[in-house]
Symmetry: D3
Subunit: 126 residues, 6 copies
C-alpha cells in the first residue's frame, strides 16, 4: 500500500501498524475499548500533581520491567515529546532493569535501539 | 525450501512453523512432552459440562491477558472452528484487556489482525 | 471494631476487607479509579453475546492462571451467583491450571478451599 | 519472642521481618547478594538527573503493576520520606493500575491501606 | 480440629494445608488434575540424564524467580531430601534473584526463612 | 552494512544484535548497567558449589518458563559451551514447560529450533 524506496525505520513500522490497528479496534462497536482508550488518555494527561513527562517516564519504567516491546516504544516517544532528555530516559531504563532483573536485558537492548533511532532522527530533522 | 509466489499470510506462517516444530518435539523421546500434549488435548475436548467453544474462548482469554502471541492465534482459530462468531471473540478480547490492562493492547492489535485475516479468508473460501 | 464469637470465614474476611477498601478508593477524588471500576462493571454485564455466567468463568480462568488470589475468590462467587455449578467451575480450574502450569497449583488449592466454603454455606442456608 | 501489648501495625510487622531477614541474607557469605543490595542502593540514590522522589515513585509504580506487596510497602515509605505527598502517590497508583489492569486491584487495596496507616501515623507523631 | 500446644511451624502449616487440599483435588473426578499431578511426578523423577537433586534445584530456581511462595517451600524441601546442601540452595537463590531482579527479594526473604527452619529442625532431629 | 550471500542463521542474527547493543549500553556512562553486567558474570561463574553447566541449565530453565526468547538462546549456547549435551537440555526444557504450562509451548518450539541449529552447526564444523 505504501511505497518506500528504503526499508521502514523501526519508528515508521511501529507507527504504521499501531495506527492501522487502533483505527480497526476503535472502528468496531466495542464500548469497552472506546472507554479503555479514553481512560488511558485521561491517566497520562497533564493535569493533577505529576507532570506529563514524569507520568510518561513511569509508563516507560513499567513497560520495560514487564517486557512489553511496543509499550516501551510508545512511552519513549511520548516521554521525548513531553520534554524528557536522553539522560532521564536512561535512568528510567536503569530502574526498570534493576527491578525486573537480567531477564529484562533483551528488551533493554531494543529500548536503546529505538531511543537511538528517535534521537538521530530528531537531530537529522533540525 | 518452500517457494511462494506471494508472501505467506499470518496464518500460513504460523501453521508452517507450528507443524514443523510440533513434529520435532513429539518425534523426540520425551515422555513428558507426549503426555503434556495429550493432557492439553484432553483439557479442551468436547466432553464434560462446558462445551468446546466456551473452553476455546477461555483459552483465548487467558492467552491474550498473558500476552502469548502464538497462543492467541491458536485459540482464535480453534474458537472459530468450534462455532464462535466475531462478536463472541471480540467480547473475549474485551475481558482479557480489562483484566490485563493497557499493557495487553499491543497483543490485542495483533489479535484483531489475525482474526480479520481468518474472517476474510473464510468468506473468500465460501 | 467488629466482634465475632467465632473466627471469620474466608468469605467474611475477603468481603470485609474488599468493601472497606473499595469505599476508601472510590471515596477519593480519583476520576481514573471511578472510571476503571465502572469499566469493569460494563465488561462483565449481561448484555451482548456472551452471557454473564460465561464472562465470570472467563474472568475466573484468567485470575487463576495469573495467580491473583482475591480475583479468584471474587469470580468464583460471581460465577456461582450467575448460575454456574461446581462442575463448570472445576472445568474452568482445569483450563487455567493446564495453561499456567504447575506454578498455579498452590493458588488452585486456595480456589478449591474457597469454592468448598461457598458451597457448604449455600447448602447450610437452604 | 517479642512482647506487644497491642497487635503490630502493618508497618511494624513489615519492618520487623524485613530487618531480620535482610540481616540474615547479608550476613551470609554471598557476594552476589551483597552486590545486588548495593546496586539497588545505587539505582535509587539522589544523583544523576532524576531526583530521589521521582525514582521512588517509579519503583512504586512498577511494584504495584507487578503486584509485589512488600515492594509496594517499601516504595510508599521511601517516596514519603523523599517528600512525595498523598496526591502524587495516588496518581502513581492510577498509572500502575491502568497499565496492569483490574488484576492489580487487590494489591491496590493493600497499597491504600498501607498508605493510610503511614499518613495517620505521621499526623499522630506531629 | 487439630490441637497444638504451640503455634505451627512454617513447615507444619504448609504441609497440613497442602495435604488436605491435594486430597480434596485428587479426590474429585477430574482426570485432568490426576494426569497433571502424575506428569509432575514424572518430570522430577530420578531417571534420565539429570539427577533428582539438580531437577529439584531447577524447580526451586524457577519458583523463586516467578515468586511462587508455596512452590519455593516445596522445592527447598525436595532438594534437601535429594541431598542438596545449604550452599547449593543459596547459589540457586542467587541465580533466581539475579534473573528476576529486585522484585524477587521479598520472596527471597521467605525462602531463607523456610530454609533456616528446615535446617534447624534437621539438626534438632539428629 | 554487512553483506551476506545467504540469509543470516538464527545464531548470527542473535549474536550480531546482542553484540552491537551490548557495546552501546556498556559504552554509555551508566554505572548501574556496568555493575549489573558484572553481577551477571559473577553469578554464573565456575566457582562455589554448583558447576558452570548446572548454573547455565538453571538460567535456561527460568528463561524458558518466563518466556524470554533471547535469554533462552543465550543460555542454550552457554550450556552447550559448558559441556551440556542435548539430552540434558531437553530435560531442562521439560521442567520449564511443566512448571510454566502450555503457555510456554510457543517459546519451547523456538528453543528446539535454536538448539537444532546449534547442534547441526557443531557437527558441520567438526
Amino acid at each position: 500500500m505504501v511505497h518506500h524506496s528504503k526499508p521502514m525505520s523501526l519508528q515508521e513500522e511501529f507507527h504504521a501498524y499501531r495506527s492501522r490497528m487502533n483505527a480497526r479496534i476503535l472502528g468496531s462497536d466495542s464500548k469497552v475499548f472506546k472507554r479503555l482508550w479514553s481512560l488511558d488518555t485521561l491517566t497520562y494527561q497533564d493535569e493533577g500533581v505529576l507532570d506529563k513527562k514524569t507520568k510518561e517516564l513511569m509508563g516507560l519504567c513499567v513497560s520495560l520491567a514487564m517486557r512489553c516491546d511496543s509499550c516501551v516504544k510508545y512511552h519513549i516517544e511520548e516521554a521525548l515529546k513531553a520534554g524528557a532528555n536522553e539522560a532521564e530516559i536512561v535512568e528510567t531504563f536503569e530502574i526498570a532493569t534493576v527491578i525486573g532483573g537480567s531477564i529484562v536485558i533483551p528488551e533493554l537492548r531494543r529500548a536503546f535501539d529505538y531511543l537511538d533511532e528517535l534521537l538521530s532522527t530528531d537531530s537529522a530533522d533540525s
